[in-house]
């Protein structure tokens, strides 16, 4: 089980003060819930706090998920952007969850702060249709060019593309 920082350490205190970001804890791991507007600045600020590796960035579709627990101040939206940050100097992790509305799925890119997020943002764009403003190369990465739809959305049904089976001659 990956270790995570204690629920409240210096960093989360600083972040709380500076940005008034809601902090929760999930299975011993610290989670920050910034708003969409403060998300980019928060990532930038956290680099200064030591979280200089963006280890993972992915999306999630919470359509029909009634069990999600969010802080009172956070309005739940259909999509979520999850960023896992890592501090390699004093081993600790931090997770950031940003609510992304279905009507306007646009988030500022963090690839200017973490170049490693570039491919991950492209993947999130493919899979959920979340656009990243200011992304240097917003082309599809895992899907072919011109693919319609976003496969990891909950309303994208499995098996919606019919598979053609060939009949065997002479039977």
């Amino acid at each position: 089980m990956s270790e995570s920082p204690p629920p409240v350490d210096d960093t989360t205190e600083t972040v709380k003060k500076l940005y008034d970001v809601a902090v929760t804890e999930s299975k011993g791991q610290t989670v920050l819930h910034p708003s969409r507007d403060s998300y980019h600045d928060l990532i930038q600020l956290l680099v200064g706090e030591g979280y200089d590796v963006c280890v993972d960035l992915c999306g999630a579709d919470h359509l029909g998920n009634a069990t999600r627990v969010l802080p009172m101040t956070i309005e739940p939206e259909r999509f979520e952007l999850i960023v896992n940050l890592l501090d390699v100097h004093t081993p600790r992790r931090l997770r950031i969850r940003v609510q992304v509305p279905e009507s306007d799925p646009v988030v500022t890119t963090i690839s200017d702060v973490h170049p490693g997020a570039e491919a991950m943002e492209r993947e999130t764009n493919d899979m959920f249709g979340v656009c990243f403003q200011g992304h240097p190369d917003p082309t599809p990465i895992l899907l072919p060019d011109g693919w319609e739809g976003h496969p990891l959305r909950k309303d994208y049904a499995m098996g919606r593309i019919p598979v053609q089976f060939k009949t065997v001659e002479g039977r």
Binding site: M1, S2, E3, S26, K27, Q29, V31, D52, V53, C54, V55, D56, C58, A60, D61, H62, N65, A66, T67, R68, V69, I82, N84, L86, V88, P91, R93, R95, H114, P115, G116, A117, E118, A119, M120, E123, M127, P136, D137, T139, P140, I141, L142, L143, P144, D145, P151, L152, Y156, M158
Partner: protein, 418 residues
Amino acid sequence: MTKLDHLRNRDAVLRMSESEAEERASVVDPDDERMIINMGPQHPSTHGVLRVTLELQGETVLRSKPIIGYLHTGMEKTAEDLTFLQGPTNVTRMDYASPLFTELTFSLAVEALLEIELPDRATWIRMLMCELNRMSSHLLFLATNGMDLGAVGMMIYGWREREEILRFFEKVTGLRMNHNYIRPGGVAVDLPDGWRQDVERILEILPERLEQFDVLMTGQPIWRERTQGIGIITTDEALALGATGPVLRSTGFAWDLRRAMPYLAYDQVEFDIVVGTYGDTFDRYAIRLNEIRESMRIVEQCLELMPEGPYRVEDRKVTPPPRARINESMEALIHHFKIFTEGFKVPPGEVYTAVESPRGELGCYLVSDGGPTPQRMHIRAPSFANLQTLPHMMHGGLLADAIAVISSIDPIMGEVDR
């Protein structure tokens, strides 16, 4: 942000869409000596189906872009349809050279959500199997790396040694690959009779063979010429690009999750983190070769310290009852039936777990909505992140060296594309 300026100003990444690249490739401008060519996805040195669009000036690589997705089969979508118990059958197919690690990170995530404590023996069996898997994965790397650079003999030897370990896996799990052995709640079956002798035999034959590899490859002038000073990356660049594993360690940065954030029982065993100095292709080769030796040390300690006891949790809501109990207990039969038909329910929540796979940080982000299937399952694939270092490593190098660089990242396309 001065650390990153260098990375940005280098202009190593070819940022254009496929159609744009095609257009550029067809226009012939006599004054422009640059040209765009395509390598792969069927090129034998691309580890499956990696395709790279290269911008060349003569023999020099200027900009490049890895084009991936040829093996994309929507495994994260499939995971949302499978129960937590069926999950490992799916994730094990991602990194097919080290399948046990993906099973492990997935199982750890499920166990974190369930908040169950594993029996000691399960933990140590997992560790033993994972370290053996690390050895087999690195042996496969030595084989393919040798093949890519023209040392075809190495390919035969690497595969041969790997086979010894796969034979042990077959005995334990029933399969050479895609084991579905590590499951939420423990492991599928206990180690078979005579496992100790089998592991001891592997530990006995490998050191001698590794020394042969040293003679065949490490000390050989042609090999060193071909790999030293090729595909250099610095620590800051590797960290900025999210690279982990041997790619990051080759720069001299000792980052290993087994040491930094111990999981399983890695805090109870002794081993060294192997690091490089120059961040070049040779360092990445040497790290993997020596990591086999470190893994052997851990396996030796596993043999010594392997505790007795149950190999999975005794919670009948999570793991099925023993086969013998089903014949005599109605309750056992019901538990068995329930687990395999509708699966067990996992309390709502979200968690991220990470393990050190042979390629780097292998993470699993798991969200449960309280049902028997995940709401969202995302695998953080180390090869996916490591591939982003490729344009930076190849920039300014020769086209022939591009093959050496791709090989030294050791990407497994199954996990890149998922």
